[in-house]
């Protein structure tokens, strides 16, 4: 087929797109909707995955009691914490082991926007706690003081939860707690927490000498093996030893999988609807152009040429729809802060992320649906009787 024939057919097709703008608009709208749904879910999955990737380090060991699946059902003793002070392969600072023993509790707060109840994690930690979080940055105020009811608030929830502005007082477990600062952690999941001094949390919640986990800075990631061996050889320890990264990976993989597995089936379901919409729209368009196809065939235009021009019409509308959908998704979803339930029934906030791969997947889905939906009507259109 010569470029002249193709360009004339495309010229006619473009004219038809504008002439039958309701039909074209239907295809564009259907494609836009399916793309928005797919991009929405995938950006959720991607945002969660990115937050997860930013959370936890391979050079930080996370220790919990032997059979514990998460911090909430772990319990460590003071003796175990003291034994860990002399563990091998750990970093020291000013002669002290870089270790933070921690206790976290779930506390109920209210959201600013809707005033609905929401659970967040209040984590008690020792002075090295913040140092053991890579990327820690005090973004306003100051650190909490040992022994005082002072809290440091993660950036992700500071704006979402009522009463978490610096200087505010929050009533938790019958005590008043003062917000003294906010922190960021390069967008990782800890930004959804509130931190305080360990002894203050233990005291407020009547959990003296109780610990749930310990974090220790390793000299390098291979030192995790030495620490594991050390724990296994001492019957008093017998702890579950894993890197912080491994721990968070296990905690959140269910969520990532759920969102990912939900995205495509939903998108496919919606695609079937879109397929039907485009099929019907193209059927109407082609029916109204039957005479035009016959004239072109009688003049010597090939079936393939006409078929390709009809395909072009559907693909162009689908691709425009995909572009609009991706644009809307970028505006609405990209960077949107979402909240979900963590493994310990606390809230975890993360930013939705629309990247090139997601846009490409949505674009291809739309193009494939546009292609498949037009094949049968176009085939019928170009193979009709030539006698008018």
């Amino acid at each position: 087929m010569s470029p002249a024939i193709l360009s004339r057919l495309i010229y006619i097709t473009l004219g038809n797109i504008f002439k039958r703008r309701w039909v074209s608009g239907t295809i564009v709208l259907a494609s836009t909707l399916v793309v928005i749904v797919l991009v929405g879910f995938l950006s959720m999955s991607e945002g969660f995955r990115q937050a997860l990737n930013n959370t936890g380090s391979e050079n930080i060991a996370m220790l919990m009691s032997g059979q514990a699946q998460n911090e909430m059902n772990s319990q460590l003793t003071r003796e175990q914490i003291e034994l860990l002070q002399s563990a091998p392969g750990v970093k020291k600072l000013d002669g002290n082991t870089l270790l933070s023993s921690e206790l976290s509790v779930i506390v109920g707060v209210r959201t600013r926007a809707e005033n609905i109840k929401r659970n967040i994690t209040l984590r008690g930690m020792t002075k090295y706690g913040p140092v053991l979080r890579e990327g820690f940055k005090l973004t306003s105020g100051r650190m909490f003081s040992p022994g005082l009811n002072e809290i440091l608030v993660g950036e992700k929830i500071a704006g979402e939860v009522k009463g978490l502005d610096v200087g505010n007082t929050l009533r938790l477990s019958g005590s008043d707690w003062t917000v003294v600062g906010t922190f960021s952690l390069a967008g990782n999941l800890f930004e959804s927490e509130v931190w305080a001094d360990l002894s203050s949390v233990q005291s407020a919640y009547n959990r003296h000498n109780q610990y749930q986990s310990a974090r220790i800075a390793l000299i390098d990631k291979d030192a995790l093996f030495d620490l594991t061996l050390y724990s296994a050889e001492d019957i008093r320890l017998d702890l579950a030893v894993q890197s912080e990264k491994q721990y968070f990976s296990k905690q959140t993989e269910g969520m990532v999988n759920l969102v990912s597995y939900l995205a495509w089936p939903l998108a496919i379901l919606l695609s079937i609807g879109t397929f039907t919409g485009i099929y019907n729209a193209m059927q109407i368009s082609i029916d109204s152009r039957r005479r035009e196809f016959v004239i072109l065939r009688q003049l010597g235009f090939s079936r393939w040429g006409i078929f390709i021009s009809v395909l072009f019409e559907s693909l162009l509308c689908s691709v425009v729809g995909a572009g609009v959908g991706i644009g809307i998704a970028l505006l609405v979803f990209d960077g949107f802060i979402a909240t979900t339930m963590g493994s310990s029934f606390d809230s975890v906030s993360y930013s939705l992320s629309v990247n090139g791969s997601i846009a490409l997947q949505a674009f291809l889905l739309s193009a494939i649906v546009g292609f498949l939906a037009v094949c049968i009507p176009a085939h019928r259109g170009v193979n009709q009787r030539l006698a008018l």
């Binding site: 024939i5 004339r8 072109l296």
Partner: protein, 232 residues
């Protein structure tokens, strides 16, 4: 003696559905000579348009043979027929059959897109064809901006622009008033006399019939008589 441009040999054509079979032609024999201007006449339902469609390769026959000069066309496949049509046959219809989205010159250019002519050569031929039918000043108008007669003349220009040997006309004056019909028929006669085009025209119109040099009368699809008309 002129050579035959179309020869039909024992052509059968019928339409059938599950219940009945409607015969159109039964062992039809017919010859149309090269350079002829002939009218196909007959009552409604006698198969005039079907005959035109068969000659143009846009409808099929059930048995028999159709020859275009030395080429048998009834056994060509769709692609071969498409090529054959593009090289040999122009159509002119009662409904004009122009592409509404294209201007007059773009409509006329369509058959030339199938050739190897350059853009400049195509434009030159289109301008000449439009001039021949007296529509140079309407070249950029779309069909909806033209009168019926002007649209039919665009259709004629489209049929003749590729310099095809045969023009098949199905009631070309059916939608036109008397004066416009005469203009269109004069143009067809000019194409036949001065440019040597073979013109086969289905018509009910007595005036249109008088422009032809030969007529074929179809009756019940089985009988054709050739009448030599006084040359108009």
């Amino acid at each position: 003696m002129k050579d035959a441009i179309f020869t039909l040999k024992k052509v059968d054509k019928f339409y059938s559905d599950s219940n009945e079979r409607v015969g159109i032609f039964d062992k039809l024999d017919m010859t149309i000579k090269d350079g002829e201007f002939c009218a196909i006449l007959g009552p409604s339902g006698s198969g005039k348009t079907t005959l035109l469609n068969i000659l143009g390769g846009v409808d099929t026959i059930n048995s028999g043979e159709i020859w275009f000069r030395d080429t048998r066309i009834d056994n060509l496949n769709q692609s071969q027929l498409t090529r054959w049509r593009a090289q040999n046959v122009g159509f002119i219809f009662q409904q004009f059959n122009l592409i509404s989205l294209l201007s007059a010159q773009q409509n006329v250019e369509l058959p030339l897109l199938m050739t190897k002519l350059t853009r400049t050569e195509r434009q030159r031929k289109v301008a000449a064809a439009l001039e021949l039918v007296g529509l140079t000043d309407r070249a950029k108008h779309k069909p909806a901006q033209l009168s019926g007669g002007q649209q039919q003349r665009v259709a004629i220009a489209r049929a003749l622009v590729a310099d095809l040997p045969v023009l098949l006309c199905d009631e070309p004056t059916g939608n036109l008033d008397r004066d416009t019909s005469n203009e269109v028929l004069e143009t067809l006669r000019l194409l036949n006399k001065d440019f040597g085009k073979s013109i086969i025209m289905v018509t009910h119109d007595q005036t249109a019939q008088s422009f032809a040099r030969t007529s074929f009368r179809l009756d019940k699809g089985t009988f054709i008589e050739e009448v030599l008309l006084a040359c108009a």
